[in-house]
Symmetry: C2
Subunit: 365 residues, 2 copies
């Protein structure tokens, strides 16, 4: 067994604190990774606070992980000791269902769906149709820790010209926005709207621009509008009714990145006929949609969940090729509780990334 | 001017009563039609009662019209005197916008959108972007009358082997359900769910079956379940949780035909990955959708509005070819107010069709 240091929440109202736990050593086709950086995703906060009513404690969050391979289990061929690799939201899937066979591990229909990097199977054994626990565990511990052990197929290659700390948020925020932009065929010249300008919104805007689209970001604060301008992205205040009216029926695709329940009705008006608004930020009951606005131009409201492994590798390579990446602020793990509060208030520009070296300096445990 | 007899509501809480009004005689490319039959659509009731907050009074409803051509205006070539023709929800569109040029008159983006068979332009002049009134009128009078005058392009040909009274509801209920079934590519062997079993649901089931799909209808009453069985259609009670659970992730397409706000969340669970639930029944704010159910398998919720002219002709021909049509009950115009009440209670099997000859027997005015 490997002794691991991490930061965990013990229950839904606790701060993250240092813990020690053990991971099994790398088995066949698994690799051991020394974690260098881990992004702070809004999902980490939802999960720690049990806002999806499915959290297993203790909860060690973190699914935007970049690290260096320190050991390769028997039979492993994909990565070598010393390689820089990334781990995103998934560390395993059933590999047999139709989505898995098509490469869409993120839509795995196995009895436990995919195995999340933290908080265990997406469908717990008790809720699975056949009651089985195909992964043999109900909880998993994520990247707010110094060591990860994962199957080599679920570790992505970090391109040499991407800084590891910049690559980290691409594993979730990048894949989550790249996947629907690609799936709905966004192309050069398209008019793309991005709703919300946080960690996902920042990546969505940059990726869509690199795809050649005209991008407009919609936000609620003039401060974020200024930030967008600084990054060369056109923005509009949602409260600017005149601007909203002028953009009616003009967008080829819209992506909502707001991480909580919100009203998408004002944005449905902005879509062209037969086009899609996709929600990736919120995993919860949304405000009701007016079907007359949807039906009158045969529009669609869709959802999309993270990205599959191929998309995740693609977005890493895409960002490296186009010289784009998230705007980040590097923090120590000791500051993660404050960081959570700032993320909730939208006060981060745009992603906190934990320098995991700070964990070794922590003597509180 | 032509003297016309019709049935109209004078305000939102009035019963329909006989009125006399005038229509202009057929101008260039217009035809005059003696109305034989007109279906009673749930939209007629919504409109009469001002449930969409846009009703112009007096309101003469009716957009499932079958009649005989009695006069052809100058230059008309499409129909001849004596032809049996149908008029659906639209009687004109801008003809210049991208949707009109693509044959999708029902998604017309002209300043007033399409001209509805009753209640005038879909976008009234006061609300149009340029404030214009391209049709020169704010109200139109529908098929609860003995004479219609419409542009020949908006009159469909009734196939010789369709009874006129059976053809009438196909002009709206048939087109509204055929159009999305076709648009989303329903094909032989697909598993199609139809939510709600009224006038639209009846047509949706029959059309999807004739396309070769496996069809399941979802209803809330065992009485409707029996009716479905009688028509050879498999049905499930929405309240049957076990049956619903067994059908999880099994449908290629679902069509909701319920004519009012309702909860589609239980049905989203039944869709396969990457598939669409389309709402055609309700034109109003819907119950909120849980985006986790949508996002977890990249599903889509769409809307669709009636059908374009080509779809409407196609569905008439399709029904004639496959020997299908709505189950109807023929009524006199004098019974229309009672019929409205029964439609609202779901007590019709499945479409009332008014025999317009009854109008001539009416001596109350």
């Amino acid at each position: 067994m490997i002794k691991v240091l991490g930061y965990a929440a013990k229950h839904s109202y606790s701060r993250l604190k240092r813990i020690q736990f053990e991971r099994e050593e790398a088995r066949a086709n698994e690799i051991e990774i020394e974690v260098l950086f881990c992004g702070v995703c809004h999902s980490d906060i939802h999960q720690v606070k049990n806002e999806w009513s499915n959290t297993v404690y203790p909860c060690v969050p973190g699914h935007e992980i970049v690290g260096r391979v320190t050991n390769v289990g028997p039979g492993g061929t994909r990565h070598e000791v010393g390689d820089l690799v990334g781990v995103g939201c998934m560390i395993e899937s059933c590999r047999h269902c139709d989505p898995c066979q098509s490469g869409d591990q993120n839509y795995c229909e196995g009895p436990n769906a995919w195995l999340a990097t933290y908080n265990g199977p997406m469908v717990p054994a008790a809720k699975a149709l056949n009651g089985g626990n195909m992964y043999g565990r109900d909880n998993t511990f994520g990247g707010y820790s110094d060591v990860m052990v994962v199957n080599e197929d679920f570790a992505l290659k970090i391109p040499t010209n991407l800084k590891p700390e910049v690559a980290a948020p691409i594993l979730c925020a990048g894949a989550t926005t790249y996947s629907p932009l690609k799936h709905w065929g966004v192309k050069a010249g398209d008019n793309v709207g991005v709703i919300g300008f946080g960690g996902l919104g920042d990546m969505a805007c940059k990726i869509a621009k690199a795809m050649g689209a005209q991008v407009t970001v919609f936000t609620t604060t003039s401060q974020k509008l200024e930030e967008a301008k600084r990054l060369g992205i056109s923005g509009v205040l949602e409260s600017d009714k005149d601007a909203m009216k002028e953009m009616k029926s003009s967008f080829d695709f819209m992506l909502s990145t707001i991480p909580e329940k919100h009203d998408i009705n004002p944005f449905i008006e902005l879509l062209k006929r037969d086009r899609t608004l996709c929600i990736v930020g919120a995993l919860e009951p949304m405000a009701g949609v007016d079907n007359s606005a949807v039906a009158f131009h045969r529009k669609r409201v869709a959802g999309s969940l993270i990205g599959n492994l191929a998309d995740t590798q693609e977005v890493l390579d895409f960002c490296a090729k186009h010289g784009i990446g998230p705007d980040i602020e590097i923090i120590d793990i000791q500051d993660v509780n404050d960081a959570f509060k700032k993320v909730e208030k939208g006060d981060v520009r745009f992603r906190y990334v934990i320098d995991m070296a700070s964990l070794k300096r922590d003597e509180s445990a």
